[in-house]
């Protein structure tokens, strides 16, 4: 019976079921387990008990202590002599307002609560901030500020729980592993190894999926994301559009000439170009890759309707998980 195959893959194979297995099998789960850090619930419980005892000894101090749910940042030295406030530290907690610096011979790791880690490269300065200190970060459970240098964050938390401010904008973790580097002029390079990161300022928000990068500037804001394997010409065209340098039509032409469906990532972000004629060109190219969903109107998309753009993005994002064709 053909149903036997559907039931337990026994009997005569049903060719339709086999074909559907092949078509749908491409979506089979292949992810890795989340990084749980080194959290052990009992350890936290013990720490809380210890904190309570300490609080009982000094009542006034207790009132000023962070609550049990306050973010906890723990330093681990990986190499050299990382410093906090000009003093070398071998480890311990980082408090809001403190900044951790690594010199050319130092590397450090910061354990962020029970949600992951942030590794600091040499030549880095990373400060602990409180939610709201950086525009748009009011909802963060954990907020750091990368003033210079590079970090690698491995975070598995609720979307928006972990955020990193930079001179160019706010990197908002949506469950991922990523690297961020702030250059001397404040330009921020962000590349995502897994998951998804949003990079935001009050003026613009870009989403950067796994395998993509964005180059953001303190003046020009979050950069249009491109794939890591994009050509230098393609990257430069995107950057020039962001920075409003060169001939925008010529730069856009480079981006529109792509034959890679994955580049809908870049194009989708260009739906907010200044010139409506350019936006229309982008719309038409995107529609050729994946027609907008029912109910999504061209006029509304071109006018900047966020809901309609997001709905289309969710269709286009099918291509963003593909490997280069």
């Amino acid at each position: 019976m053909r149903d036997e195959y559907l039931w337990d893959k026994g009997g005569v194979a049903d060719p339709e079921v086999v074909e559907l297995e092949e078509l749908l099998g491409r979506y089979r789960h292949r992810g890795a387990p989340p990084e749980l850090g080194r959290r052990r619930p009992r350890t936290r419980a013990i720490l809380l008990v210890a904190a309570s005892i300490l609080a009982a000894v000094s009542g006034a101090l207790w009132l000023s202590r962070p609550s049990a749910s306050s973010p906890v940042y723990m330093l681990e030295v990986l190499a050299g002599s990382p410093q906090i406030g000009g003093e070398s530290r071998a480890g311990g907690a980082l408090a809001p307002g403190e900044a951790l610096t690594t010199d050319a011979a130092s590397r450090a790791l910061v354990r962020v609560g029970d949600i992951g880690t942030v590794e600091l490269e040499p030549g880095c300065r990373l400060a602990v901030r409180e939610a709201g200190d950086v525009p748009g970060s009011a909802g963060a459970d954990y907020l750091l500020y990368l003033e210079r240098g590079g970090i690698r964050a491995e975070i598995f938390a609720e979307p928006r729980a972990f955020q990193v401010g930079t001179p160019s904008g706010l990197a908002v973790d949506l469950g991922c592993v990523y690297e961020a580097r702030v250059e001397d002029d404040g330009t921020t390079l962000l590349s995502v190894e897994s998951g998804l990161v949003a990079f935001e300022t009050p003026a613009r928000r870009v989403v950067v999926p796994q395998g993509a990068v964005t180059r953001s500037h303190p003046v020009h804001g979050p950069g249009t994301p491109v794939w890591e394997d994009a050509s230098a010409e393609y990257r430069l065209a995107a950057q020039r559009l962001d920075e409003r340098t060169g001939d925008p039509s010529a730069n856009l032409e480079v981006l529109l000439s792509t034959v890679d469906e994955r580049d809908s990532l870049t194009l989708w972000h260009l739906l907010d170009l200044d010139d409506v004629r350019h936006r229309e060109q982008v719309y038409d190219r995107l529609a050729a890759i994946a027609p907008p969903p029912s109910g999504v109107k061209k006029e509304r998309v071109l006018e900047g309707d966020e809901d309609m753009r997001k709905r289309w993005r969710r269709t286009l994002s099918w291509y963003w998980g593909k490997k280069k064709g």
Binding site: D3, Y27, H29, P33, L36, W318
Partner: protein
Amino acid sequence: MDAPEADPRLGDASPSPITDTESTSLARRAREGDRSAFHELYDRYASMIHAVLIARVAPADAEDLVQEVFLAAWRKLGSLRDESRVGAWLATIAKNRAKRAHARAPRPAEPLPDEEHAPRQPIAVGDSVEASRAALDCLQSLPEIYREPLAMRLVEGMSGPEIARALERTPETLRVQLTRGMKLLRERLARRGWS
């Protein structure tokens, strides 16, 4: 949550990784902070949870939400009262996460009332990516009772007995649902030019 009663009709099924005493033990150890036990739970249930999610959301979101589900589970293990139902508990978290994902950004592929039975675009024969996407669209348009088991069977490659245990349905019921769901899926695919 109450523990599900053992179903003697499952006796002839091949041993399933879902809802067994080992999972119960793993859940108990994970609740006590044992990360390796939690990772084993992940290995056992990730595919099932992914199927629950991909029956509702886009593939890229499903992968992300699997991470969210297990991370949330790790945090909330203390609220799991009945370790023997850890699979159902994880599935509940997954469904809630999928709902929240919809609330944040409604998925366009979800059929509107007037198009539920008339998907828009014919499947592009020869383009396996398009065909896969269209097949998933059709699967996601099915009633929930058929959607989940078919996602487990066709996407994740689970067997009927495994799915029955995962969804806590009897094998007879699940078998009927798989067959009916497959019939519906064929009909909807046929409307999109798939043969």
